[in-house]
């Protein structure tokens, strides 16, 4: 493996580290502990990280609002709760049926998380539906707001550990990246890593958990004449 002394971090590396008890966190934490490479993070990645946090807060609050509306219009008891629970999930997903990028996310990924949400909270939601307790939904909303606010604060605080830089928009290889299957915002971040590489006159490692980028390692090396290498923190 080529040694890169300069690392450009993808959004998911930082989010995985600051997320409490996340499955990827140990890998991300190990990377930050053992790697002494110079680490760069861009304003674009920072904005993307904030968008991920904001978008999931908004979606979570929308789900609660959807449940609340449903609850005010339907009589639910322990006999029919499973049917109503399933209908709420279907109703929520139906809002996005003609959208390939719901809430600016890949559809498959978005729908997968919504399914996990309804699975993880199945018993709590069903109990609220049976008890007809809107006040518990309000408390849930408040908890969501506080959790995401804390995460937002932790993101900002963590940036002190990185070299955070702002790039003038350069469209050097954006179209070529799209051509090999890497779309916005990933192509913008990889392009920024290349601008950094040119500025430092060094090989830069683009560190990411995203298999959608890691799988294109060879194509990216070729496109950037070996100036950019895509690395997984697990392999560092």
């Amino acid at each position: 493996m080529v040694e890169c002394n300069y690392h450009f971090l993808d959004t998911n590396i930082v989010l995985a580290l600051i997320l409490p008890n996340d499955g990827s966190k140990s890998e991300s934490a190990k990377y930050f502990t053992k790697s002494s490479h110079e680490k760069y993070f861009s304003n674009t990645a920072f904005k993307e990280a904030k968008n991920v946090i904001n978008n999931w807060r908004r979606v979570s609050l929308k789900i609660i609002d959807c449940i609340k509306n449903y609850l005010t219009q339907n009589l639910i008891n322990s006999q029919n709760v499973n049917t109503h629970f399933r209908k709420i999930k279907e109703l929520f997903l139906k809002r996005y049926h003609d959208d390939d990028f719901p809430e600016n996310m890949k559809k498959e990924n978005f729908e997968n998380v919504i399914t996990i949400f309804f699975n993880d909270y199945a018993s709590e939601i069903k109990q609220i539906l049976i008890d007809d307790k809107v006040s518990e939904l309000d408390a849930f909303s408040k908890d969501i707001r506080d959790a995401f606010k804390q995460l937002h604060n932790d993101l900002i605080s963590f940036l002190d550990n990185l070299i955070c830089i702002s790039f003038v928009e350069e469209n050097t290889k954006l179209k070529e990246l799209i051509a090999i299957g890497i779309h916005k915002p990933d192509n913008v971040l990889i392009n920024e890593a290349f601008v950094l590489s040119s500025f430092l006159n060094q090989i830069v490692g683009f560190v990411t958990f995203d298999n959608g980028i890691l799988n294109y390692h060879k194509e990216i090396i070729k496109l950037f004449s070996s100036k950019i290498h895509v690395l997984s923190p697990i392999d560092i």
Partner: protein
């Protein structure tokens, strides 16, 4: 470029004349805003299948349903036959019997019935703006967004005049009701960033001293939303405007985003360890963002 559908302004002129006649009978002055909403209400009562529905063309905008055809007809009558009675409200100087005897009234008696029912219902007439929002707004978020978020920013020079904690709560409430329509997704991202920034500015205790900047930004937030709204919620008559309106919405989003970025400077971030998360908070973050990162 799409051409406007063939709509004669005569229908609207006749309706405005008839309404001015009946309002004079009741000694009731009217503003343009009220007239806009009154005719919109008549249109909605006539229903989509009525042959006049398309001849009363509207789009939703900053202050609710708006029709350029109503504005033109209203101004013609106002400038030639009316006197100012109260702030922004006008009434016919003298009664004009010919305003009542129009082709429209002769051919569509239901218009007379619907119009009189609204004008004679004082409570409905006085609250017609709020009524059309409550009853017909294309998205339910528009009601708290317009009447609580926008109105508070528009009406208050000082934030000491209202409960800021409650105001931030309403921001989150509206966030939970933002349209899921993909046309508004970039607006939603900007909205959400402003929402968290306002919460943090409030936590820092500097909401009051920055209110003059924030209130203009919040008014711009609603105006930008309205620019997108008119693209999505309009009658076919206005199809010829759609490219220009769409571009104006995009332009406004860009400017709004830059303004929201400026609020970042006002936010104060306190370093706190992850130990401060409760177990329920850890769960929600891992269910959503954690699952999202795992793909």
């Amino acid at each position: 470029m799409l051409e406007p559908v063939d709509v004669t302004s005569k229908t609207m002129d006749d309706l405005v004349k008839f309404l001015f006649f009946e309002l004079k009978e009741n000694n009731e002055p009217i503003s343009e805003t009220q007239m806009q909403k009154l005719i919109f209400k008549i249109k909605m009562e006539l229903g989509e299948n009525h042959e006049l529905y398309e001849e009363l063309p509207y789009y939703w905008y900053i202050h609710g349903p708006f029709s350029e055809v109503v504005r033109d007809s209203f101004n013609d009558i106002k400038n030639n036959f009316c006197e100012l009675r109260a702030y922004n409200k006008v009434i016919l100087k003298k009664q004009h019997d010919d305003f009542k005897d129009t082709e429209l009234v002769d051919n569509f008696s239901e218009i007379v019935k619907i119009s009189l029912a609204i004008i004679h219902n004082q409570n409905l007439f006085d609250n017609i703006v709020k009524h059309v929002y409550d009853r017909y707004a294309p998205y339910k978020v528009m009601i708290p967004f317009k009447f609580e978020i926008y109105q508070t920013a528009n009406d208050n020079r000082f934030s000491q005049n209202f409960d800021v904690d409650e105001y931030v709560d309403i921001f989150y409430k509206c966030e939970s009701q933002l349209p899921s329509d993909k046309y508004f997704v970039n607006f939603s991202e900007i909205y959400s960033q402003l929402c968290i920034n306002l919460d943090l500015i409030n936590d820092k205790g500097i909401f009051d001293e920055n209110w003059r900047f924030l209130r203009n930004l919040i008014k711009e937030l609603w105006t930008t939303f309205a620019k997108g709204l008119r693209v999505k919620s309009k009658d076919n008559y206005y199809n010829y405007e759609i490219d220009v309106w769409d571009q104006k919405f995009e332009d406004n989003l860009r400017i709004l985003s830059q303004f929201v970025d400026k609020t970042e400077i006002l936010t104060n971030y306190n370093t706190q360890s992850n130990n401060n998360y409760t177990s329920s908070q850890k769960k929600i973050l891992n269910t959503t963002i954690g699952s999202y990162l795992r793909g």
